[in-house]
Symmetry: C6
Subunit: 219 residues, 6 copies
Amino acid sequence: YELQVSDGYQVGRVNGLAVMGEDSGIMLPVMAEVTPSQGPGQVIATGQLKEMAEESVQNVSAIIKKFSDQNLAEKDVHIQFVQTGQSGVDGDSASITVATAVISALEDVGVSQNLAMTGSLSVRGDVLPVGGVTHKIEAAAKAGCKTVIIPKANEQDVMIEDEYREMIEIIPVSHISEVLEVALEGEGEKDSLIARLKSITGSALQDGNVAGPSSPSPQ
Amino acid sequence: YELQVSDGYQVGRVNGLAVMGEDSGIMLPVMAEVTPSQGPGQVIATGQLKEMAEESVQNVSAIIKKFSDQNLAEKDVHIQFVQTGQSGVDGDSASITVATAVISALEDVGVSQNLAMTGSLSVRGDVLPVGGVTHKIEAAAKAGCKTVIIPKANEQDVMIEDEYREMIEIIPVSHISEVLEVALEGEGEKDSLIARLKSITGSALQDGNVAGPSSPSPQ
Amino acid sequence: YELQVSDGYQVGRVNGLAVMGEDSGIMLPVMAEVTPSQGPGQVIATGQLKEMAEESVQNVSAIIKKFSDQNLAEKDVHIQFVQTGQSGVDGDSASITVATAVISALEDVGVSQNLAMTGSLSVRGDVLPVGGVTHKIEAAAKAGCKTVIIPKANEQDVMIEDEYREMIEIIPVSHISEVLEVALEGEGEKDSLIARLKSITGSALQDGNVAGPSSPSPQ
Amino acid sequence: YELQVSDGYQVGRVNGLAVMGEDSGIMLPVMAEVTPSQGPGQVIATGQLKEMAEESVQNVSAIIKKFSDQNLAEKDVHIQFVQTGQSGVDGDSASITVATAVISALEDVGVSQNLAMTGSLSVRGDVLPVGGVTHKIEAAAKAGCKTVIIPKANEQDVMIEDEYREMIEIIPVSHISEVLEVALEGEGEKDSLIARLKSITGSALQDGNVAGPSSPSPQ
Amino acid sequence: YELQVSDGYQVGRVNGLAVMGEDSGIMLPVMAEVTPSQGPGQVIATGQLKEMAEESVQNVSAIIKKFSDQNLAEKDVHIQFVQTGQSGVDGDSASITVATAVISALEDVGVSQNLAMTGSLSVRGDVLPVGGVTHKIEAAAKAGCKTVIIPKANEQDVMIEDEYREMIEIIPVSHISEVLEVALEGEGEKDSLIARLKSITGSALQDGNVAGPSSPSPQ
Amino acid sequence: YELQVSDGYQVGRVNGLAVMGEDSGIMLPVMAEVTPSQGPGQVIATGQLKEMAEESVQNVSAIIKKFSDQNLAEKDVHIQFVQTGQSGVDGDSASITVATAVISALEDVGVSQNLAMTGSLSVRGDVLPVGGVTHKIEAAAKAGCKTVIIPKANEQDVMIEDEYREMIEIIPVSHISEVLEVALEGEGEKDSLIARLKSITGSALQDGNVAGPSSPSPQ
Ligand SMILES: [Ca+2]
Ligand SMILES: [Ca+2]
Ligand SMILES: [Ca+2]
Ligand SMILES: [Ca+2]
Ligand SMILES: [Ca+2]
Ligand SMILES: [Ca+2]
Ligand SMILES: [Ca+2]
Ligand SMILES: [Ca+2]
Ligand SMILES: [Ca+2]
Ligand SMILES: [Ca+2]
Ligand SMILES: [Ca+2]
Ligand SMILES: [Ca+2]
């Protein structure tokens, strides 16, 4: 089942990146949908998430609840790490992937399908460093992606081989608004989304020096 | 207790398929009913579901909540994997079976009883690949089914013996709307259901290239 | 403590049947009561129920919620497997016993006390096969019951000794409405209950061929 | 700390009886209070209750909810097995003790303090047999009680020594209304409580032949 | 970090007493605060409470809910066993300490800081015996307390050395209202609080003979 | 990933301090955000918090709920211990860090980024002693902080080397209002916040002698 990358845009589907074993990466899509709720609104994540991954979804939900101009109290947010199997999902490096998939589903705006991304997220929208960026970038390139988003704090860790340098553009970011700028389809609607996102997390951005933490998350 | 296949239609009952051990399949029906709730509406699944199967029910619920034109907030959705015994249900390959049973119960439309199906489901309606398709198709044929639905991404995996080729028609699908097109009874009402289903998950379908994931689910 | 069978009718009390060890049966009553709830309405089952037994209560609740013309949202349904001790209740073969006890309590209609029953139940009212029918029938006869209800799919499994054949009438059934036809007291009110029950689960009955599953439940 | 028995009446306090080890009994008081709730009304039982004891409290709650003419939805029912220590409470033989303590607290009617009692309870008000009655009766006599209530189905099990026969009156009962007739203070108010209790569980009493189960509960 | 005892009064802070190991006591403060709730009102206790300690908090909550003339449905009651570390809190002998701290916080009335106390509590306000009173009294004296409250049922257990007899006054109590009489600041407001507390638990007090249980709680 | 300290102010981000192993400290930021809730308002803390850390968040929430002039019933409070990895967060010494981050987010007031802090918190606002202050102060100095807040009760424990004495100012505090006085940006708005905080926890402050507990928390 070769995972093929298409050129168009798709709503609620974003290519994430994970590390497998010691020295290889893999591209894993995340899908999201927002539905009417049955009971109180919930964020429901599937794909055998381990503890840190569950917590990363809670961190992402802070951004989503703050961002949404819909009332989420009567909505369920479904997040699916697609067919991760029994091994499941560990770590928090898919945080920006999840955030992008949910915002795409909420706003019905397409996400570029030849783009992949990795990055942890603070509850205030900062993109925080992750582990394994080199292997992840190579996996994105091999899968046919033209662009890959990584945390700015990981720029120094990129040591990919030259053959990949030409295949894929690497975009370092430090805030979730920059992720959406790259990932979302369209212009006018996108710009207004990003402006809204910046305004709710504005104070974090204002002086441009969000110091990263002292150690990256493992995956 | 030979499981006999009948020719008619039945509401809320769909033939699923599972793999037993290494190299044989089995047909296992799924039944569904929708009732008034006591407390907040719930999705209640029985049959000793293991973790991945529980999560597959949560993924299916995204489609159901989005699809239903009834308010599910005061309804319970009951899903019963019939008499699976102590061994229970594993994996997510019954997702389209569950979705079909629940939509049949919700809408009071019959499902063909000489049809069996296997397939995983994304929260946006994509039918994703599963494991063991060859054994499952043979089990459906042996049980007397005339038609079997499999994920389009599994087409290449079908290696059934010639004797079965003549007994059973194999229909590959890539979206839940195609499953319902084959499974549901009637014409007019069915078409309107399918149109509604396509409209709620339309963006996923529009460009026809929902890339499957890199590995099938195990069961 | 010989369990004595009386001839009259009693509300909310039904004789169930279980298998003990390898080759003997036992009669175990189930009692039910419906009360105002404190918080959101609940189904509360006691008697040290193991997992499959808990799930069978959830399946029964689908029938009850659909059937009740009272709103169960502010009612609790209490189900008591009487004095089953530390060993508790396993399996799903008391499903029709539980359903009958609760419907009796809900509607304040008596249940025959010289009747015993065994049978699993689908969420749509089908009576499904169980294990150990021969031992169970013999236990009912020994306890002094005049009638015993078993699943139609188990008819072929009955191998009771001749002495019991004369003591007890065996009634095979395939739908919960047939159970109530035999078990409940009275005529007019009973018929209207059964008509109501058939109407809510009618589509399952209409073509009379609810194929049973391929294996019976163990107890 | 000799537990001394007084002659008066007290609201919300009832002497229960338990078996310790193989061959001795102990008197253990149960206290109850009914308060405004914080969240949804709850039944809260303390004293390190083991599973069967927790379930017996749920069974008792069926009687309480049915009986109360106050709405329990905004009330909490507190039940305290006093200072049972780390060993906690097992079995269901304190059910009638708990029921009496709660009804006393709910209705603000005193309970006789030189009375002790043991008995299991069905959700419809039947008093069911328990184990260890002889040791329990002796413990009540030693503690200075003048009266002890036991289940009618246990009458045959009483084998107390002659010295105790003269110290204590043994009252066998088969329904919770008979327990209250003996235990509660006063006349007029008590009679109206008992009449109300009989009316809500009346169908269980009407033909006077509530067959007990085949085995007593262990404690 | 010598724990120093001050002479004044403080709202929501009460000196409790615990036993450490075999033969020494320790003074441990309990703090309480009452706040608006987020969801349904809750009682939240911290300090690594073990099971019996958690249950003692539930027992105390019965008194608090009954006593409060504020509606607790939209309030949270916070109880903090201060810096008990990883070893946490066991047993129920801090019940009267917790009750006093919460009532102080609810009513904004100060508690004497050169007073310490130990005692279990029934859901109806009785002070029940505890273990280790001698070691606890000595710990209170060493810490500089001038007064210590113990359960009346423990009076016979006090075997403190003469040097402590002169340092500290021992006050035995049998009801929570007597604890507050000693502990709270002021006169007029205090008396009205105590009168209210007696009225809600009045029936327990009326005949003055609340028989204690047969064994004290271990800590 | 050297954690760099900046000179400005940032909303919802505070430098905490922890002990690693036996003899070294580390600076760990805490971030907070307050969002509309989906269901009932919740406090959600991530970073693999162990039991004592979870409880310290509950203690902090008492201050927050009392302090907030917004109704928290329809808000979620997100607290993120940033990238603490699999080892997670233990102990309660980050309590004042968490309280400061949440109040900053609630009130949209910046926190000084060249300040670090350590301290436990009572539910009434007292700053309680912690362990490892010397190592923590040195870690703050090494990271470039100009100021560090410690509990007044830990003043006697500070044994830092002379080189650090000149690099960093140590401010001992005994109440959360003093922490905010040092940490928050601005003047007018800050003073009114602090006045409000003092008024809600005023009785604890009034006589200035909040005796600390007898042992510090371990981390
Ligand atoms: Ca999960
Ligand atoms: Ca959409
Ligand atoms: Ca389950
Ligand atoms: Ca229907
Ligand atoms: Ca249970
Ligand atoms: Ca009735
Ligand atoms: Ca408990
Ligand atoms: Ca009262
Ligand atoms: Ca706890
Ligand atoms: Ca106050
Ligand atoms: Ca957690
Ligand atoms: Ca803000």
